[in-house]
Symmetry: C2
Subunit: 262 residues, 2 copies
């Protein structure tokens, strides 16, 4: 299992890095594929009431188109509104088969994995490749180091009820890993001061842990261990990218605020 | 009841018009008040699972702040994301008391009435007062004429299962009313050509009807006749502004697209 996990990472990570480096349609395509898989996984977890597949997929298309048209300037709020209106129209058109509760589940099932489009938006920022690489590197370092430290030295459970496998030692290791990764960026890139890199790295670690726990809650409520099994040894897209769903928006908005202020 | 309805309209409509004319903080304040009432009404309708009050109110504050900071350039997508992240964090912090289904209900209960901030965004457009007045006039004309024509001459039910009181005659009357109101705008304002006014008026009528029916679905599922009773003779904010929730975004984006194209 552990070997499988490493093999998957060695094959998968370069693919994601390549798409992030090339950017444009290729990256948008990768985000679209990840989004589709994440939708299928979350729809299965959000049963009772289950969101209709067609509507969630339409939402994905609307969000991707919105991200493309926004040219990286902002998260496409108008796409969110268009999708919300589509859901409200479906309430009327499919009455009484589509309940307001199912409508709410549909909106959530679309918007939550929809945060993945930030990977594409980050790439469109000035020096987007650097920020995309930073997001991937700090998030993955957090995930991997937290996993390994927790596995080898973990003693004190962090969230005994929600996710017994997570330990305080693992979290601290992950934070140290993210900070180290951020410091490496300081050595290679002159632009922001060292403290900016470190603050960002620390914030990414906290966001990564929160993202990981949020998807754990959803899996717990559905009595599922993993969200899927498309990535051998890692589970599903929602298992592997749950941290990124929160770290990507964080980095994007932090960079935007910092650019606007400085 | 009918007299009460008219008295309310004669008192309420000028207040809304005044706030729309003055714009700025006063209009934002009015939207905030309407939003709060709509939240309370929708929370009561979305019981099972009921969205937590604090979170919905926090979402309202985030959306209003986003609208204020956007300066009318776009619907604040980053505010939506911030609110979504807050909901995901609540999943973790309040585990296991806050379920993913309640989380979804919370997101929907906030975003749907949240469309009201378009009233404020419209006012910030170039010639915002004209567009705000147009939105209010065409939507209210549709609502009133559809109600009166349906009451007096309505024979053919439009949605017998969902809302037996609505008739095809009422809808057609409402469309005629909206078109007439749009034509009056053509007489007063030179800017867009007459066909633009009429197309917009027709689209507003359809959106108003859809918005009205969407809130009917939610009330139906909750076995409620009205969403509230704050406006004597009209019901709640969600009863009186349900059409506006769809017409305001429509006018805003139509004007933006039209300005970008022309």
């Amino acid at each position: 299992m552990f070997t499988l996990r490493i093999v998957s990472a060695v094959v998968g990570a370069p693919l994601v890095l390549l798409a992030a480096w090339l950017g444009g349609w290729l990256l948008l395509g990768l985000v679209a594929v990840l989004l589709c898989v994440a939708f299928v996984e979350l729809m299965a977890l959000m049963k009772q009431p289950r969101p209709p597949r067609v509507l969630v997929l339409a939402g994905g298309v609307i969000l991707l188109a919105g991200a493309y048209l926004s040219e990286g300037d902002y998260f496409p709020g108008s796409a969110v509104v268009l999708f919300l209106v589509l859901c409200l129209a479906s309430l009327v058109l499919f009455y009484p088969r589509f309940s307001p509760q199912a409508c709410a589940a549909t909106v959530f099932t679309t918007l939550y994995p929809g945060l993945l489009i930030y990977l594409y938006l980050i790439r469109l920022l000035p020096e987007g490749w650097m920020w995309a690489l930073f997001t991937l590197a700090t998030t993955w370092t957090f995930d991997s180091v937290a996993y390994l430290v927790g596995k080898w030295w973990g003693r004190h459970q962090m969230t005994p009820v929600l996710s017994p496998g997570k330990t305080v030692e693992g979290f601290c290791g992950g934070v140290a890993g993210s900070l180290l990764a951020a410091f490496v960026f300081h050595l290679f890139f002159a632009a922001p001061a060292v403290w900016v890199w470190l603050v960002l790295g620390g914030m990414v670690a906290v966001a990564a842990q929160l993202g990981d726990l949020a998807s754990s809650v959803i899996k717990r409520f559905a009595d599922a261990k993993d969200a899927g099994n498309v990535i051998p040894g890692h589970g599903g897209v929602l298992d592997r990218f749950d941290s990124m769903l929160l770290t990507a928006p964080l980095v994007y908005h932090a960079v935007q605020l910092f650019s606007a202020g400085g």
